[in-house]
């Protein structure tokens, strides 16, 4: 069970950084790359821990994993656009965040109910 709490911890940190990044995207400002390159790896560690937890068997929050995986695809695409000089669509940034938040809420419900 500890693994899932660690995963929640990393997702929580990723979420905080993600909200901060969103404020830049919504204002049409350049995202600070130190935050971008911390946010992504935090979320990846969260996903890896979640996968390890699920692979151990028993009841698992697979819906969360699906939502995080979709959010990750959006994140990688936004990073690609950002670094190659293409604007980040604001709707995509918000959608990415919403998917991740939904995944996070489901994960919390699973872990604490």
């Amino acid at each position: 069970m500890e693994i899932i709490y660690a995963s929640i911890g990393f997702f929580a940190l990723a979420a905080l950084l993600g909200m901060y990044l969103l404020t830049f995207v919504l204002r049409g400002k350049e995202t600070p790359k130190a935050i971008v390159f911390t946010h992504g790896p935090m979320a990846v560690i969260g996903v890896v821990l979640l996968i390890i937890y699920i692979l151990k068997g028993g009841p698992n929050p697979w819906e969360s994993l699906v939502l995080f995986a979709l959010a990750a695809v959006g994140g990688v695409y936004m990073l690609y656009r950002d670094l190659t000089g293409r604007p980040i669509p604001k709707a995509l940034a918000v959608g990415h965040g919403l998917l991740a938040v939904c995944g996070f809420v489901l994960l919390l419900v699973f872990a604490f109910s």
Partner: protein, 531 residues
């Protein structure tokens, strides 16, 4: 002292080439008018191709015109290291190709009667330290294995150094004036029908099924093949993960005695110094140059870049009777993962786009090799060098270490883009100083000139969005990630970036950005081409 290249200062008659005006259709378009681009153009024009050279600034005005004008077979990475990272056969091919390129340059200067002071002379490689002895010996051995004549010697005659631990000599190397040479070639090839356009920046390029399209600042070029001869491919290219950018420094001096040694020397101890001599106007030697002190672009370990010049000057004064320092300049070189340049088709799936990069500071010869080889590839003639220089070869086990090191270094530069801890007032910036500061959640590159005027641009590099750093020797903004460099007004000088830094306006009273209604950051009409 302002930085200025000796070669630029000693080229009195510079031919002018027009800017492109409208759309054209050619067999081959060459991006970049340095030694690589112009040699390629010459070879292709000789082979009957319709060729256009598109140069963003002036022909020869890139690194070619800011080098040190030495032509030699050995290489900075050392041939014996290439034998280790690849194999002896590749090392031998590299050595023999460089030998052939040297002959080629001599032949061109003769045939075209180019007044570029070409002259053969020896290369010496010596050390005063025990732990470098085997390096000198191995280099001689590798040259000999390649079938070339190099010898271990007991003295470096013109210098007569005390405590010489090991020295090597190779005869038949050469010096020349690289800018005059390239301009001479360009003039000749233009007379043969090659179209050369200056002040024409390539902004975008695309390889299609049966042609390539280049969007420039002055028109569209349609062609069958394209050669990216911009020293490092412009736009975003996977080779940028291995071809790391380094700056190195040159100081040119006159000697009281007038006794300029007629040879090229590598003095490689813990620090490396290259010693060379050249002539300003006639064949008579009248200038001593010391080069060295490289560091990754935008990542100087000394806040004061002048330190690098001062150190070279001090070295010169220790070994020579220096009368005066005449010129100081610095220039950029790009390394390669395994020490061998990348010359050939840009990707495994590419059919029409070629690159040439990763020359270290040995690229006057490598650029010539690239010109010969790329023309042979495009015209379908065979060339025995292609395998050794294959640009699609990727990273092997022997080079994985340097690949990881360089890319961790780039990641570390991104991690410095933290939104806190920066000076955030324009008043913190003194006259003659440049700083990156944060205003209204934007990183700005701000320079205050001696007249107290502020020059403000976005500090976000237009290549891959690292934050640029101020270079206080050359008064430029240098990107620490992939080596793009920009002038104080934000315009691109060199490197993979294509677009200028975005100019910003600031209200001096409120110290806030004035919304000019332009693009918000990250939004541009032209995106980085993936080349």
């Amino acid at each position: 002292m302002e930085t200025q290249s000796f070669w630029e200062a000693t080229t009195p008659h510079r031919p002018e080439f027009p800017a492109l005006d409208g759309n054209i259709d050619v067999d081959v378009a060459i991006i970049g008018g340095g030694i690589t681009g112009i040699t390629t153009a010459l070879q292709l024009t000789n082979a009957g191709k319709k060729v256009a050279v598109l140069e963003a600034r002036r022909v020869g005005g890139g690194t070619t015109g800011w080098s040190t004008g030495n032509l030699y077979v050995p290489v900075g990475f050392y041939l014996h290291n290439i034998a280790r990272s690849r194999n002896q056969e590749v090392a031998s091919t590299v050595a023999r190709a460089r030998y052939a390129a040297l002959d080629y340059i001599e032949q061109q200067t003769r045939e075209k009667n180019i007044d570029c002071h070409f002259s053969r002379r020896p290369w010496y490689f010596f050390t005063q330290e025990d732990n470098m002895v085997s390096t000198v010996e191995k280099e001689v051995e590798t040259l000999q294995k390649a079938g070339l004549r190099a010898d271990l010697v007991n003295d470096v005659p013109p210098l007569h150094l005390p405590e010489l631990k090991r020295a090597a000599k190779m005869d038949g190397q050469a010096r020349f004036h690289p800018l005059r040479y390239v301009l001479g070639l360009a003039t000749a090839v233009a007379q043969q029908g090659c179209q050369i356009y200056e002040h024409t920046t390539v902004l975008d390029l695309k390889e299609k099924e049966d042609h390539c399209l280049l969007v420039t600042s002055h028109g569209v070029v349609t062609c069958r093949q394209v050669v990216i001869a911009t020293h490092i491919p412009i736009g975003i290219h996977s080779v940028q993960t291995v071809a790391a950018p380094y700056r190195s420094y040159v100081v040119a001096m006159r000697l009281k005695s007038g006794a300029y040694p007629d040879a090229y020397f590598w003095h490689n101890d813990k620090t490396h110094h290259a010693i060379t001599t050249h002539s300003s106007t006639s064949m008579e030697l009248d200038m001593l140059m010391i080069a060295g002190n490289h560091h990754k672009t935008g990542q100087a370990s000394h806040q004061e870049y002048q330190h690098y010049f001062n150190e070279l000057e001090a070295y010169a004064r220790k070994h020579f009777d220096v009368a005066s320092v005449e010129f100081r300049w610095s220039a950029q070189h790009y390394r390669s993962g395994d020490g061998v340049p990348y010359i050939g088709l840009t990707h495994k799936s590419a059919k029409r786009t070629y690159i040439a990069t990763g020359f270290y500071a040995d690229g006057l010869t490598y650029g010539t090799i690239a010109g010969i080889q790329l023309a042979d590839m495009i015209t379908g003639r065979g060339n025995s060098w292609i395998g050794a220089f294959d640009a699609t070869r990727g990273t092997n086990l022997a080079t994985a270490g340097s690949f990881i090191k360089e890319n961790l270094n780039v990641a570390a530069q991104y991690l410095k883009d933290f939104p806190v801890g920066k000076a955030s007032h324009f008043s913190d910036i003194k006259a003659g100083e440049g700083k990156t500061i944060e205003v209204d959640a934007e990183k700005l590159a701000v320079y205050r000139d001696e007249q107290n005027q502020l020059h403000v641009c976005s500090a976000v590099c237009t290549h891959m969005k690292c934050i640029v750093n101020f270079n206080n020797a050359e008064k430029t903004w240098d990107c620490p990630c992939h080596g793009s460099r920009f002038m104080l007004d934000g315009s691109v000088i060199e490197g993979p970036a294509i677009l200028n830094l975005e100019r910003k306006q600031v209200d001096p009273q409120t110290e806030h950005l004035i919304n000019t209604g332009g693009h918000t950051s990250g939004e541009r009409e032209i995106n980085n081409p993936i080349t």
